[in-house]
């Protein structure tokens, strides 16, 4: 027989190696399929957790600039109570304070639907002009109303959906058993879905109406907000408020932002526990690879050496086997996770965030992806996995061929 073309085209040789690796993968089909599925699952979980927490954090921070500078609460016995009028004057006289506004807000629990609404009292006419006007889907009826102001409210989408179920989408009746009569409210609009993540459970109404619903007596308020134009002075002013009135508690915007930063970070129970499980599972996967080859695989390496394969080629085959699985799994895991979170809106996962509430937003999140982080995930999984697969093969490849073939 004539001689074959010796040491042919490099590219063709690489293709042959890849062909052989793939053939090897298919030969051990069951095991490799399971490994692939597990690997995809692990990466999927990691990306999903990263994506959802990243997106929620972005949503939190998208409006953080507009938060009030200082929120003031009154505390008795370590718990929040209503705050009285006489604090305003004293606080507004602190130098550096531009404005102090009392707020009336709270929660209303609707037993029939087991839903907790957030009630917020403000001057509704403010929402009817400028930019604010465009964040509400106004109901047609608003033009011809002659009712008293306290009987109007604008609701969030979640509330609207819930009220539709009990056919109360135009007007809602507030009632508690200890009241004399129910208080009817006309629903004049719904906040648009772009604000959904913040407004979903809100009922924004005239302050007097809120007072009635929350049963707050005159002169009492839920809390105060203080506006300080110079950010450098905020901490000092907050400190002064607490010094003058030890029963008051202040929450500055910086503190709220710091809470936002740590809300979903890795120290949170959810992220930490899912990451630990994934890391552990992945270590098991790698250990399995590193702990050595089966006798059949060792023999195969011995045979390849005996018929003239270079050690590098044998290692290349083994490397490709693992590399192919890991790179496909990593990319697939990340892509599937993207579609799961941003197209399917994380069914199953969002329930963990929602807990027992009956009112929840649709989780239409804005994607926030740091490419560096994704590349990190891919690198940190693919490289150790491929390397661990090569190591035992290298050991086998440098062992005396005769020894391997005789003992396997």
């Amino acid at each position: 027989m004539d001689k074959p073309t010796t040491s042919g085209n490099w590219l063709e040789r690489q293709r042959n190696i890849v062909d052989y690796s793939l053939q090897g993968l298919f030969r051990r089909r069951t095991k490799n399929s399971l490994i692939l599925v597990m690997y995809v699952l692990l990466i999927f979980v990691v990306s999903s957790v990263l994506f959802i927490t990243g997106s929620l954090t972005v949503e939190l921070f998208s409006t953080a600039e507009e938060l009030p500078d200082i929120t003031v609460q009154k505390m008795i016995g370590g718990r929040q109570v209503t705050i009285q009028e006489y604090y305003f004057k004293a606080i507004s006289e602190i130098p550096g304070v531009e404005d102090v506004e009392p707020r009336v807000w709270g929660y209303f629990y609707l037993e029939e639907l087991q839903a907790n609404f957030t009630i917020y009292g403000m001057d509704l006419t403010l929402l009817e002009e400028g930019d604010y006007e465009r964040i509400v889907n106004w109901n047609a009826a608003r033009k011809n109303l002659e009712m008293q102001p306290e009987f109007r409210m604008i609701i969030g989408e979640g509330v609207s959906r819930l009220l539709k179920e009990i056919q109360m989408e135009d007007a809602f009746l507030f009632f508690q058993p200890n009241w004399d009569a129910a208080i009817p409210f006309e629903i004049i609009g719904t906040f648009k879905s772009e604000t959904q993540l913040q407004s979903n459970d809100l009922m924004v109404m005239q302050t007097e109406g809120a007072r009635k619903v929350l049963e707050l007596k005159e002169g009492d308020f839920t809390d105060l907000v203080v506006y300080v134009p110079n950010p450098e002075e905020t901490e000092m002013i907050a400190l002064k408020i607490r010094r003058y009135y030890p029963e008051l508690r202040t929450v500055t915007r910086a503190q709220i932002e710091s809470t936002y930063t740590s809300a979903f970070n890795w120290k949170g129970g959810f992220v930490l526990s899912s990451m630990l499980v994934v890391i552990f599972a992945f270590l098991v996967l790698i250990w399995d690879k590193a702990s050595g080859l089966s006798p059949a695989e060792k023999k195969e390496i011995g045979i390849m050496k005996a018929i003239g394969w270079d050690t590098e080629m044998i290692l290349a085959v083994k490397f490709w086997e693992s590399f192919i699985i890991s790179i496909i799994a990593a990319v697939l895991g990340i892509v599937l996770s993207y579609f799961y979170i941003y197209w399917l809106h994380a069914p199953g996962l969002k329930e963990i965030f929602i807990g027992w509430s009956t009112l929840y937003p649709s989780f239409e999140l804005v994607p926030d992806i740091d490419i560096k982080f994704l590349l990190l995930i891919v690198t940190v999984t693919v490289i150790p996995y491929s390397a661990m697969a090569v190591f035992p093969s290298w050991k086998a490849a440098i062992t005396d061929t005769d020894y391997i073939l005789r003992n396997n």
Partner: protein, 227 residues
């Protein structure tokens, strides 16, 4: 010296040199084999024939001495070049065949060709020619583990020939075969010899060294060639 396919000069192999468990399976072996001839190395087990054959086949490196195959010095080659030489110029039929059981006959035969960077079609072509020559065309797609002993042996022979080598080495090829298969095997060897192959067989089977195709018999005992 163009006539010589193989020449060994005082080839010695020592395992665990200098230690208490020192073993010298091959000692000062010098021989010459002309092209196109078939030689049988005869000797009981432990006489060093397998080790000698492995050294000639570049599977093991000799401790002392020289091996020249087809005019090329192979005993002192670094591993990479020894591998290349093995891959390109030598065909080895192992005693236990050493085929990969999960692969098909065709894949096993084509295995030595992958390092050459040949296209699949070309590889298959070469393999099919050999299959036809050794009556294995119908078994091409079968997995080796599903074949009979004789078919496996023929596959092993095909694999050793696929690289177009001219020196064929066979280590105890008839050890697991019955009389008929032994006769078949020797028939194939005769055929190959008539096509110009140089054949070196290590065996203690009388059927082998008494066959007519054998040109020369070299006897080994205790690692040395008997005069």
């Amino acid at each position: 010296m163009d006539e010589l396919m193989l020449k060994t000069v005082k080839v010695t192999k020592i395992y665990n040199q200098g230690k208490q468990n020192e073993v010298i399976p091959v000692r000062d072996v010098s021989l010459k084999v002309k092209k196109g001839t078939s030689v049988v190395i005869k000797g009981p087990s432990g006489s060093g024939k397998t080790t000698l054959l492995s050294m000639i086949g570049c599977q093991i490196k000799p401790t002392h001495g020289e091996i020249v195959v087809n005019g090329k010095q192979v005993s002192k080659l670094p591993e990479k070049f020894a591998n290349r030489h093995k891959r390109e110029h030598i065909g080895f039929v192992f005693q236990q065949f050493h085929l990969i059981p999960d692969l098909s006959v065709l894949d096993n035969i084509m295995l030595p060709l992958l390092p050459f960077g040949m296209r699949p079609a070309e590889r298959k072509n070469r393999a099919m020619k050999l299959l036809t020559q050794f009556d294995l065309e119908k078994r091409g797609r079968f997995k080796v583990k599903d074949l009979s002993g004789g078919e496996q042996q023929r596959t092993a022979i095909c694999r050793s020939l696929v690289n177009g080598c001219s020196l064929l080495l066979a280590d105890e090829p008839t050890a697991h075969l019955d009389g008929q298969l032994t006769a078949d095997f020797l028939g194939y060897m005769a055929e190959l010899k008539s096509k110009g192959y140089t054949i070196l067989i290590a065996s203690h089977d009388p059927a082998v060294f008494e066959h007519e195709m054998v040109d020369r018999i070299i006897e080994m005992k205790g690692g040395e060639i008997l005069p």
